[in-house]
Amino acid sequence: MTPSSAATGVLALPLDSTADIATGTSWLRFRPPSDAVCDPGQFFMLSTVAPSPVAYLGRPFSIGDVRDGQWLFMLRALGRGTAWLRTLESGTMMRLIGPLGIPFERRASPVHRMIAGGIGLAPFLFLARRLRAEQPQAGIELYYGERDARSHVELTADERSLFDIVERFTDDGSLGTAGSVVDGLENRWAETDVAWYGCGPQPMLRAAAAKLEEHDVEAAQFALEERMACGFGVCQACVVPNRHPPPRYRLLCTEGPVVETGKVAW
C-alpha cells in the first residue's frame, strides 16, 4: 500500500462523545464528513474552536480508530492541556486540522508485530483493522506495556479480534507479564519475515530500535512524538535528529510521524 493523498483541511466538528477506557484515558469521538479519509499513523491537530483558558496550541493526536462512522482519538491526561481536554463535554466545537503526516506503509508480510508503550497504543487498533482487511492471512500481534494495571486499556471484544496475539506487560507486574515489552519479546526479536511497528515513550523506542538493529532490521516503522505548534510543516518545532545528515534534523509532522528506525539518530 502506498500512502494515500488524503486532502488536508480544517474541520470544525462537535465532540460527539467521550468514553473512559482506563485511568486518565478516554476516547474522543467525532462524526466526520462522509468523504473524509485518513490512514493509520496519520494524525490530526485538535483544539477547541473557542480559545482555551489553559492550552493555547492544538495538540497532535494519531487517528486511533475509524469505526461505526466515527473517528476515535485516544486521549491520556499527561499534562495541564490534556487534562483540560479530558473535561470537555459532548457538543463542544473542536477544530481538527488534518489528516497530517506520513502514515504507516502497509507492506505485505506474514506477520505484523506492533509494540506499544502507554498511550503509544493509540495508532495500532486502526492499523490492525486496515491490515486485517487487506491481508486477512497475515498474523497480527500486539505487545502492549503500561506502568500498571490501572493505566491499561482493556480491549473490547471487537478490538481484541483484530489481533491474533495480544501480550500485556506492566512495570509493576499488576497485570500481564512483569517488566518491559522490550525485555518480554526475548528471542522474538530475531524472527525474520516480521513487519515491525512501534509507538511509545522515547526510551522504549530507543531500546527496541537497538534490539532490531542487532538483527539487521532498520526498516521497522516507529511513530514518534515531539512538541509541535502547528503540525503542518511551518513552525519547525518537531525535529528529531537524522542518523545520516544532512539535513541534521527531520520534521516529524511532514517527514513523520512514522519513521523507519534506521533513519533516526537514537
Binding site: G81, A229, C235, V240
Partner: protein, 321 residues
C-alpha cells in the same frame, strides 16, 4: 478587490491589511491547502540567511496559557535553495498578494551580504520589499542581540540600505527599554518603515525536571499574551513618527485584535502564532475587517491611527460584528 481594505505602507500597496508573519508561514506555499495565498494582503517569508541553518536542538517550543515560547533558531534553507526551490511554486500562486523577503545575518556585515543577494535576484523572486529581522545574536560579539544594541542595529540597517533600492521594513524588538530610538535609527538609515513587535524574551521551567523546557533555555514569547505590548509600542512609535509606515504585529488572533493595532497606528498588520492554532486565522480576520469597514462605512486608511485623533466619543449602539 475591496477598495475599503487597501492598505498603503509607503512604497508598497497591499490589497488588504492582513499579512502572514515571518516564521509562521513557511516560504509561502505551505498554507495553500487551507486557503489561497492570493487572498492575503501579503506575507513575510521565513527568515532567510545566505547560508542554510539547521536551527536549535529540541525541544523548540513551550506552550504558555496564552501563547508559546519558541527557540527554533532561525532554521532556514538558505538563499540559493529559496530562489531555486521555493520561488517557482510561490510565483504560481501569489496573485495580488505581496511578498516581503525576511532576512537576517549572524553579524551586521552579513545583513549587507544577504541584502545584496536579494537585490541581485529581485526580479526572479518578485518580492515587493525586504523585512529585516534584527533579533539575531551576533556570533562575532558574544551573542548580543543585534536588535537590542543601537550600534549594531544601525550597522545592519545601513548595510541593507546600501545594497538595495527595494522598500525596507525593519522588524523591531520589544526587548529594549524604549523602542522609539530604534525606530528613529531605522528612519535615519533610510528604512521605508518598521514592523513591530518581534517576540518577547521568555522562559519556562519544567518543575519536575527542574530545568528550562527549551533546548536552548529560553526563547521568544508570542501569541495573545503579547498583544498589549505590541499595541503599546505601535501607539508610541506612531505618535513619535506620524508618517512612518508601520506593520503591526504581536498576538493578533482575531479581527478585533487587528483593529486595535490599526487604530493604534499600524497601516497593515501581520498574523503569526494564531495561524498555528487556526490556519484560517488570516482569512477570518480579512472577512471581519471587511464587515467592519462596510458596516461602519469606513476604510483601513481612515482607521489607521484613529486612536491618536481622539477616537469616537459616542456610539449609538455597540456593534458586535
Amino acid at each position: 478587490m475591496n477598495e475599503r481594505l487597501v492598505a498603503t505602507c509607503g512604497r508598497i500597496t497591499f490589497q488588504n491589511p492582513v499579512l502572514a508573519a515571518s516564521g509562521t508561514f513557511g516560504y509561502g506555499s505551505e498554507f495553500e491547502r487551507f486557503f489561497p495565498l492570493a487572498s492575503l494582503g501579503g506575507f513575510a517569508t521565513k527568515t532567510l540567511f545566505v547560508e542554510p541553518r539547521d536551527g536549535n536542538p529540541p525541544p523548540r517550543v513551550a506552550e504558555t496559557s496564552a501563547g508559546m515560547i519558541n527557540s527554533i533558531g532561525l532554521a532556514n534553507v538558505g538563499w540559493e535553495a529559496f530562489v531555486a526551490e521555493k520561488v517557482p511554486d510561490l510565483k504560481a500562486i501569489i496573485g495580488a498578494a505581496r511578498m516581503l523577503v525576511n532576512i537576517a545575518g549572524n553579524a551586521p556585515d552579513e545583513y549587507r551580504a544577504i541584502a545584496a543577494r536579494v537585490e541581485a535576484d529581485r526580479e526572479r523572486v518578485g518580492c515587493a520589499g525586504i523585512e529585516v529581522n534584527v533579533s539575531c545574536p551576533n556570533v562575532k560579539e558574544g551573542g548580543t542581540n543585534i536588535g537590542c544594541d543601537l550600534h549594531q542595529f544601525q550597522a545592519a540597517i545601513r548595510g541593507v540600505r546600501e545594497e538595495t533600492s527595494l522598500p525596507v521594513f525593519v522588524k523591531l524588538s520589544p526587548n529594549v527599554a524604549d523602542v522609539v530610538p530604534f525606530a528613529a535609527c531605522a528612519i535615519d538609515e533610510g528604512a521605508d518603515g518598521v514592523s513591530l513587535i518581534n517576540t518577547v524574551y521568555g522562559m519556562q521551567i519544567d518543575i519536575e525536571k527542574r530545568r528550562p523546557v527549551l533546548g536552548t533555555g529560553s526563547g521568544g514569547l508570542s501569541g495573545p499574551a503579547i498583544l498589549p505590548i505590541g499595541v503599546y509600542w505601535t501607539h508610541k512609535v506612531r505618535a513619535a513618527f506620524p508618517d512612518l509606515p508601520i506593520l503591526g504585529i504581536g498576538g493578533i488572533a482575531t479581527w478585533r485584535d487587528a483593529l486595535q493595532y490599526l487604530l493604534a497606528g499600524a497601516h497593515a498588520i501581520q498574523v503569526g502564532t494564531a495561524a498555528f492554532v487556526n490556519p484560517l486565522a488570516c482569512v477570518e480576520i480579512i472577512a471581519g475587517l471587511e464587515r467592519y469597514c462596510s458596516q461602519r462605512d469606513t476604510t483601513i486608511a481612515e482607521l489607521s491611527g484613529a486612536a491618536h485623533r481622539g477616537g469616537r466619543l459616542a456610539e449609538a449602539a455597540v456593534w458586535t460584528g
